[in-house]
């Protein structure tokens, strides 16, 4: 009432932190219990939005990994391996329900530890986490029907290393199918985002999951390397950078370990002149600014048909002006914090290279908070295939805009990358969508939408975006001896 007329300023609407209790320090979750490290160290996990220390966590050493793998092996040989698949499934249903029941707690913790907006952790990450467990719970006693032959067998102990962009969701993508197929797991969450995985460990306890079925070892790259190279694991599943993915492919060469890798991307989001423009603009925004662009399948290359370039860019810039950047715990925030100082430096470096190579940088007027790691939503115009910002994964809120003239040219440019994770196509013409989808060398093609995920829908990359699929019937293959 005291405001000037016509100014509708949203008051702060912070989500309550009280819903989650963060311990001051965490051990490792091995064989059903939190234990102290044998030969590791501790490190701090911070909130990237405020640089506040949230907790002290353990960097597991080689002896810890030995112990975790042994616990997983014992559970595989014992209770879990002998359990009727139906009962295994019922455990997963139970976990899914607890995840739903404690959803808000998980969402708040994810936002604190990761820096992503609470709206996304609440409405996207955590519901998908529960859905993933629910979906794979149902597969546990239906593996005979999954098209992988009669009575397919599990692999054994799975070593799983996941990234920081969707901490709990990536855990769900890994753990749910592994357990449904009858494996046991040792999972390492990312160094900067361990807390929801540790809360998940508590949920395993609450569900009375047998000890050793799920083991959570925190740590950084070295911990991950030791885990992946451990001779006691039968399966390696990794989501992260293409660089590390190649290292894993080399280190597992000559072993019997089954490997699946979900790596980087540089997806083209292709907008034709007959696209539903308003929704295409939403899709472009969702494609690159969802989760601060910390998305391996992000639509980081916008390919716009040249005859609608001005219209699309005008609409896009207008829309970027309405994005709300700031406190991730505020329910109205669209863009949260960059996950770490290290990542912020990487984003800045590549953006600076964009400037240096002559592309034109644009961001909406946007005040960045004083503390924490922030980067404004940014787009580069005048980008060509020869620019590094059109070729390298930035993994941040930075969009490179290119143009094309014909469908064939769009396909050529979209495919002209070592990556092949995803692509987007925007047009009102159905046959063109399918023609494009037929030619795009990418594991997921979104048509008139972007960044959609569902446990029933397989996801994974072509070429240097990795191999193996996660989701649905196809996702079982990664965890079965087939």
């Amino acid at each position: 009432m005291t405001q000037p007329s016509n100014a509708f300023d949203y008051a702060p609407a912070p989500e309550s932190r009280a819903v989650v209790a963060i311990k001051s320090s965490y051990g490792l979750f091995i064989d059903g219990a939190f234990v102290d490290t044998i030969d590791g160290r501790t490190f701090k996990t911070i909130s990237p939005a405020t640089e506040e220390v949230l907790a002290e966590v353990t960097e597991a050493g080689a002896a810890d990994i030995d112990r975790a793998v042994a616990a997983a092996r014992a559970a595989y040989a014992g209770s879990w391996g002998r359990m009727a698949p139906r009962e295994r499934g019922k455990y997963l249903f139970r976990v899914a329900r607890i995840l739903q029941e404690r959803g808000r707690e998980l969402a708040v913790l994810e936002t604190l530890d990761n820096g992503k907006p609470i709206r996304e952790s609440r409405d996207v990450d955590i519901p998908l986490v529960a859905a993933w467990f629910f979906h794979y719970a149902g597969w546990a006693d239906k593996l005979d029907h999954a098209g992988h032959g009669p009575s397919p067998r599990p692999l054994g102990v799975a070593a799983q290393v996941i990234p920081w962009n969707f901490p709990l969701l990536m855990l769900a993508w890994k753990v749910a199918p592994a357990l449904a197929c009858g494996n046991t797991v040792v999972l390492k969450p990312a160094e900067t985002t361990p807390l929801t995985a540790l809360l998940f460990a508590e949920i395993c306890q609450q569900a009375d999951l047998p000890p050793g079925v799920v083991n959570i070892v925190t740590g950084a790259g070295e911990t991950g390397r030791v885990l992946v190279e451990h001779p006691g694991v039968d399966k390696v599943a990794f989501t992260g950078s293409t660089e590390v993915g190649k290292m894993i492919a080399r280190s597992t060469a000559g072993t019997n370990k089954k490997v699946t890798l979900e790596l980087g991307g540089k997806a083209a989001n292709i907008v034709f002149d007959d696209a539903p423009v308003d929704q295409a603009v939403e899709g472009i925004v969702n494609g690159i600014f969802f989760n601060q662009g910390h998305v391996c399948c992000a639509g980081s290359r916008l390919l716009v048909q040249e005859n609608v370039y001005d219209e699309v860019l005008d609409s896009l810039k207008r829309r970027l002006g309405t994005l709300r950047l700031g406190d991730p715990m505020d329910k109205n925030t669209d863009i949260g914090a960059i996950n770490s100082a290290e990542q912020l430096a990487r984003v800045r470096e590549l953006a600076d290279i964009g400037d240096a190579e002559g592309a034109e940088r644009w961001s909406p007027p946007c005040k960045l908070p004083d503390k924490g790691y922030w980067f404004p939503p940014t787009l580069f115009t005048g980008v060509t295939q020869a620019h590094r910002i059109a070729r390298e994964e930035i993994f941040g809120p930075v969009l490179s805009v290119l143009t094309f003239r014909t469908p064939t040219e769009a396909v050529e440019k979209a495919n002209n990358t070592p990556y092949g994770l995803s692509a987007g196509v925007w047009t009102d013409k159905g046959s063109r969508i399918l023609w494009m989808a037929d030619r795009l060398r990418a594991g997921v093609v979104w048509a008139n939408t972007f960044n959609r995920f569902d446990p029933a829908s397989p996801f994974g990359g072509y070429k240097e975006s990795g191999f193996g699929r996660e989701g649905g019937r196809h996702g079982l293959e990664a965890y079965l001896d087939v």
């Binding site: 007959d274 899709g283 008139n448």
Partner: protein
């Protein structure tokens, strides 16, 4: 995209009008629904909520459109419009009263000089199934009786049958009959069925001279929805960019709670911006929502929840 110079020829013929409307960018239903749903998660608290409640009250077209309407009912509604909360003089007035044309004279006598607009539905509301002379007479009667806003319905049958010029010309004729009264054109989006149709009908109405485009009569389900209103807001935004002329938007029907009303304000704020955040450019066609807004307003000042016994009926 549309530019100013090519609009002059659009309404020259059925063919050119059709070509133009069907050349507008399509609306992807799933995407539009998702955008509206995302905006409806906005959390409007404390000072922003207080602001939004008063703004929403000031945008209401307080409506009674029933066969059982009587002068007594209309007078009561007028009293409510002018003093929504008799216990709190800081409460804003609503934007307008909306009644059938035969009730306009009654309402006009009540509202005279009190700053509340008087809207009348016209043109064989709600079906629009009458001859043009009947519709024009209906309109002129309402204006003559004191209405300064006319809420007309388009001929949905003609629109769906592809007789776009007929719809256009009828709006032009009604606009002429309005004189100085503002014309709100009701698209009855529930009968148009697709968002593509909503976008085309929005442009058609604006090309024909509408001052406002309005979603619904309230007599057909679904009435106003967030995604339909989103599509119409995008249309007025694009129309202003193309022509320089600003057109208002009025969702009507189905808006019952404060939460509903605030969702519409958020939609306006983030789709077309503050230029539309005033009763001159955005209205809420509703009746029961007023009491909910008043109860929420009281809650904000007293800190406790109220009940229907503490707001006035009509």
């Amino acid at each position: 995209m549309t530019t100013r110079h090519d609009l002059a020829d659009v309404t020259r013929s059925e063919a050119s009008l059709r070509r133009f409307l069907h050349g507008l960018a399509g609306v992807d239903q799933v995407g539009a629904d998702a955008r509206a749903a995302m905006l409806s998660t906005r959390s409007i608290k404390t000072s922003a909520k207080a602001y939004a409640i008063d703004l929403a009250i000031s945008m209401i077209d307080l409506t009674t459109l029933e066969g059982q309407d009587t002068p007594g009912k209309v007078r009561a509604l007028c009293a409510k419009a002018m003093r929504p909360d008799p216990t709190d003089s800081s409460t804003p007035q609503v934007a307008a009263i909306c009644v059938y044309s035969d009730m306009v004279a009654t309402a006009a006598a009540e509202l005279k000089g009190r700053g509340v607009h008087l809207a009348s539905v016209a043109t064989a509301f709600p079906s629009g199934r009458a001859s043009l002379p009947v519709k024009l007479t209906d309109t002129r009667d309402a204006v003559a009786a004191g209405a300064d806003e006319i809420d007309m319905v388009i001929d949905r049958g003609a629109f769906l049958a592809g007789n776009l010029m007929r719809v256009h010309d009828e709006i032009v004729a009604v606009k002429a009959a309005c004189g100085s009264a503002h014309l709100k054109v009701i698209l009855e989006t529930g009968e148009l069925a697709t968002y593509d149709n909503v976008r085309r009908a929005s442009w058609l109405a604006m090309l024909a001279g509408a001052d406002f485009i309005k979603t619904s009569t309230g007599k057909i389900a679904p009435a106003a929805t967030l995604p339909v209103t989103l599509v119409m807001l995008e249309a007025v935004r694009d129309f202003r960019a193309a022509t320089g002329r600003q057109v208002g938007v009025k969702p009507a029907g189905g808006i019952r709670t404060t939460k509903d009303a605030i969702k519409y304000l958020v939609l306006v704020n983030e789709t077309v911006g503050p230029d539309w955040l005033s009763p001159d450019w955005f209205r809420l066609g509703a009746s029961s929502v007023l009491n909910d807004l008043l109860m929420q307003r009281t809650k904000m000042t007293t800190g406790r929840y109220g009940g229907p016994d503490y707001v006035t009926l009509d």
